[in-house]
């Protein structure tokens, strides 16, 4: 049993990390008061940007191109999220519909551009990020082999961003103001805070982080851009609810999903799992998500003003 866990742990982590960073992005957006259903599309945009950049610059920059492409992905995601920000914040549009429009646009537009630029709707990456054992730490008994073996660089980047996010959210003035905008925007407004500006930042952060998430999938385990992330953006949303809009909660939730999904994929390698019909394993993450939602939606800690357009005039 333990060896099974050790074997699949890196894969679970690889699956969980893009989920984590995207969910974190969703956290910033929702905590500021804007529901962002478009995380899925933003991941696609990030993956697309990263794929194009890497294919273009790998010959000259090598692995550096891959790392740079992550930044490009974040920029692309942030840019694309402006559409959602503008619709939700300036125009008071229905945020769920706007997010859905983002998803559809991202899917169609990226394949359209891919076809135009490369002639094919798929972009293959022949190279990805290397995996490595963290020197020194990997020799710690028990957990060393578990956590520090065969890791991706992006994993540590994302964990770093998580820690930074928790700090910003709870210890800085910006974090306090952001949370106020999501709970009671009128109170923030009366305190002289520019609610619109903070919400824009929240959405842009979600765009950047989701873009990074999409790119991470590409450069770690997928290697191919295909115009869709198979519902990962929505899994990230579910993780946000599951994690009760707190960074640590989201960490736990995404790891849980990571394991659930990896269990399915590793059934081929593990004799114990071979007995279960493949379809069960494939739908397992989605069913688990449904169950998790059932348990966690009732006692919701959702930011109170999330999803409601902020209108100055209303009292």
């Amino acid at each position: 049993m333990w060896s099974v866990i050790v074997n699949i742990f890196p894969y679970a982590v690889a699956f969980a990390m893009p989920l984590l960073i995207t969910s974190l992005g969703g956290l910033f957006s929702e905590r500021s008061g804007v529901v962002n259903i478009g995380l899925e599309g933003l991941m696609v945009v990030g993956g697309f940007a990263s794929a194009l950049f890497t294919v273009a610059f790998y010959p000259s920059l090598g692995t550096g191109a891959i790392w740079l492409s992550l930044i490009v992905a974040m920029a692309a995601g942030a840019l694309f999220s402006l559409l959602h920000a503008f619709a939700s914040i300036n125009l008071n549009a229905n945020q769920v519909i706007s997010g859905t429009a983002i998803n559809m646009m991202a899917g169609a537009l990226t394949i359209f551009l891919a076809r135009t630029i490369t002639g094919s709707g798929n972009v293959q990456l022949r190279m990805g990020l290397p995996r490595f054992d963290v020197p020194g730490l990997v020799h710690i008994p028990v957990i060393g082999r578990l956590i520090f073996r065969q890791t991706y660089g992006t994993t540590w980047l994302i964990i770093g961003i998580l820690a930074l996010s928790a700090f910003v959210l709870y210890k800085t003035a910006f974090g306090l103001r952001l949370r106020a905008c999501g709970e009671h925007p009128h109170a923030a407004d009366a305190a002289g805070i520019n609610v619109y500006r903070i919400r824009y930042i929240g959405v842009l952060i979600s765009g950047a982080m989701s873009g990074l998430g999409g790119a991470t999938i590409l450069v770690t385990y997928s290697g191919e851009f295909s115009g869709s992330v198979a519902g990962m953006g929505f899994l990230a949303l579910a993780a946000l609810i599951f994690g009760q809009w707190k960074p640590l909660g989201v960490l736990g939730a995404t790891f849980f999903f990571g394991f659930a999904a990896t269990l399915a994929n590793s059934s081929q390698a593990e004799p114990a799992l071979k007995a279960i019909p493949e379809v069960v394993l494939k739908v397992f993450p989605y069913v688990v998500t449904l169950l998790a939602l059932v348990f966690f939606s009732k006692s919701t800690q959702a930011p109170r003003a999330s999803g409601e357009p902020y209108e100055k005039g209303k009292r």
Binding site: T172, R177, A180, E183, H184, A187, D189, A190, G192, I193
Partner: protein, 517 residues
């Protein structure tokens, strides 16, 4: 005499409404200046302009003699102007300190120094006798304390001019006296206060001068000590209104509602109503008095079926309805004028005629075999609209959203009365309405009582309770404090009961003593 704030010829319009029309208000240093007007007269708009939440279309503002542009609350704060809002602007899951420093957070490097802020707040609180715990979470403290947090917000920002927007709406009579004391302390310390209110008694008790506005227009500024309440009322309303309500002598019939040992939990799973027992008879108005949040809402929700009952029973004309659904209760003769007309009372995006059949749509003649009878629905709407003076832009096909508060409420009352109920539960039936509508609705409620219906009146306005009720039951912390006869009691006695002191405890012959708080 120097003016510390001058609002000169202020004009402000919103789509379809001229909220402020050429209004002038000048605040002297060290005075308490009341801003008087009915609900909807434009008082809050004017003060929001002073506080920087809105910008005026016409007119100018001078602070300490210099003309200023107040574009946002930050600038208002810098000028020394602060506002205690009617609907508190407090984040429920932040602490008192976090709420107060929001927007002007003290720093230690890049982190927020909450400890330092906390200390300063504790000191301020002691200085003015506000008794606030800086580390408590807003959702855990009382409404009175929340208001004092709002006051602290202003003092923390060194406000010199303090605006209070309808501050006494949510306080017990005792807390109101405390607030007036706090205001006097602030004045002694050199502050100046603008008090927005529609309560004449409070103006007489504390204000120096009073500016009256009506329907957005400036009526006049008077010296409070030289003006009596009748005169101020006339300025506020524009005509003499007969407030007399004639009730037939009380002839109570049989017991229509028997509430026995009712315990109800609130949304946080805490008992909001504890072992509550009371009887309501036909042909009487029983008023439920109490400060907001003492179990009245939960009582009404339990009676109407919107909330489950933890223990106890409810008997409607002898029948046990404790487990019945909302629909069954309506069918059995309960009508409910809800406390929030826009949330519970109406589907704002439906037309008047669609709203008027909200409870009746399943019955003949409005529907048959699942299909609606549009003609019958239209005729019914015409009847109710004319019987209850419901005014609107398009008659029965008007969208409820476009109607005024008073007409929305009349439509609801028309609908509920048309059910011909045995028991009528009216909660805050005149909240936010102009005086004309208030008097009309009071008369119609008394009509129901005279016709032999049983009326349960729940209201936070003590005057309304005293004017309309035959008997008054007072609740405090979910418990029944006592029941008194309306004719033989007064505001002071009921006010004391609202804080938990039972009537009989005041007399020395009863040895129990001790107040329940």
């Amino acid at each position: 005499m120097e003016y510390v704030v001058e609002l000169l010829n202020i004009g402000k319009s919103f789509p379809g409404i001229r909220a402020n029309d050429d209004i002038t208000l000048c605040l002297r240093k060290g005075e308490i200046h009341a801003l008087l007007g009915e609900n909807g007269a434009g008082k809050s708009t004017l003060m929001s302009i002073l506080f920087g939440l809105y910008q005026p279309d016409e007119g100018k503002i001078r602070v300490r003699g210099t003309e200023v542009q107040i574009d946002n609350p930050n600038i208002a704060n810098e000028l020394g102007i602060g506002m205690v809002h009617q609907h508190f602007k407090l984040v429920h899951n932040f602490t008192v300190t976090e709420n107060i420093v929001l927007g002007i957070e003290p720093h230690k490097g890049i982190t927020v120094d909450l400890k330092q802020a906390s200390r300063k707040i504790r000191d301020l609180s002691a200085q003015y006798g506000l008794n606030v715990d800086p580390d408590a979470k807003i959702e855990d403290i009382s409404v009175g304390m929340q208001q004092r947090v709002e006051i602290l917000k202003m003092l923390y920002r060194n406000a010199e001019v303090l605006i209070f927007d309808e501050p006494t709406a949510v306080l017990t009579p005792q807390e109101i006296l405390d607030l007036l004391d706090i205001m006097r302390n602030l004045i002694k310390d050199g502050k100046s206060i603008i008090l927005i209110t529609h309560k004449l008694r409070e103006i007489k008790a504390i204000a120096d001068r009073c500016t009256v506005i009506r329907l957005g227009k400036f009526i006049g500024t008077v010296d409070v000590k030289d003006t009596d309440e009748e005169r101020m009322a006339e300025m506020m309303i524009g005509r003499r209104i007969s407030f007399d309500i004639h009730k037939k002598p009380l002839e109570p019939g049989r017991t229509m509602l028997k509430i026995d040992n009712l315990t109800v939990l609130n949304s946080r799973k805490v008992p909001a109503l504890k072992n509550f027992s009371i009887e309501l008879k036909a042909g009487e108005i029983l008023g439920i008095a109490g400060v907001e949040g003492n179990g009245q809402s939960e009582l009404v929700e339990a009676l109407t079926g919107l909330r489950k009952v933890e223990s106890g029973t409810i008997l409607l004309d002898g029948k046990d309805i404790t487990a019945m659904t909302i629909r069954e209760r309506i069918e059995n003769g309960i009508a409910h004028i809800p406390e929030d007309r826009q949330r519970r009372g109406l589907v704002l995006d439906y037309t008047i005629e669609e709203n008027l059949i909200l409870e009746k749509h399943r019955r003949l003649p409005f529907s048959k075999n699942g299909f609606l009878n549009h003609k019958a629905i239209r005729e019914h709407a015409d009847e109710v609209i004319s019987a209850f003076d419901v005014r609107s832009s398009n008659g029965p096909v008007t969208m409820a959203r476009t109607m005024s508060g008073g007409n929305q409420q009349k439509a609801i009352i028309g609908r509920e009365f048309d059910l011909n109920p045995e028991v009528l539960i009216a909660v805050q039936p005149t909240r936010g309405l102009d005086v004309g509508s208030i008097v009309y609705i009071h008369r119609r409620i008394v009509e129901q009582r005279d016709a032999g219906k049983a009326v349960l009146l729940v209201s936070l306005e003590l005057d309304e309770i005293l004017d309309l009720s035959d008997r008054i039951a007072v609740v405090n912390h979910g418990e029944l404090v006592g029941i008194v006869d309306a004719k033989s009691t007064n505001e002071k006695e009921v006010g004391l009961m609202m804080t938990g002191i039972r009537a009989h405890e005041r007399s020395s012959s009863n040895g129990n003593g001790g107040s329940n708080k």
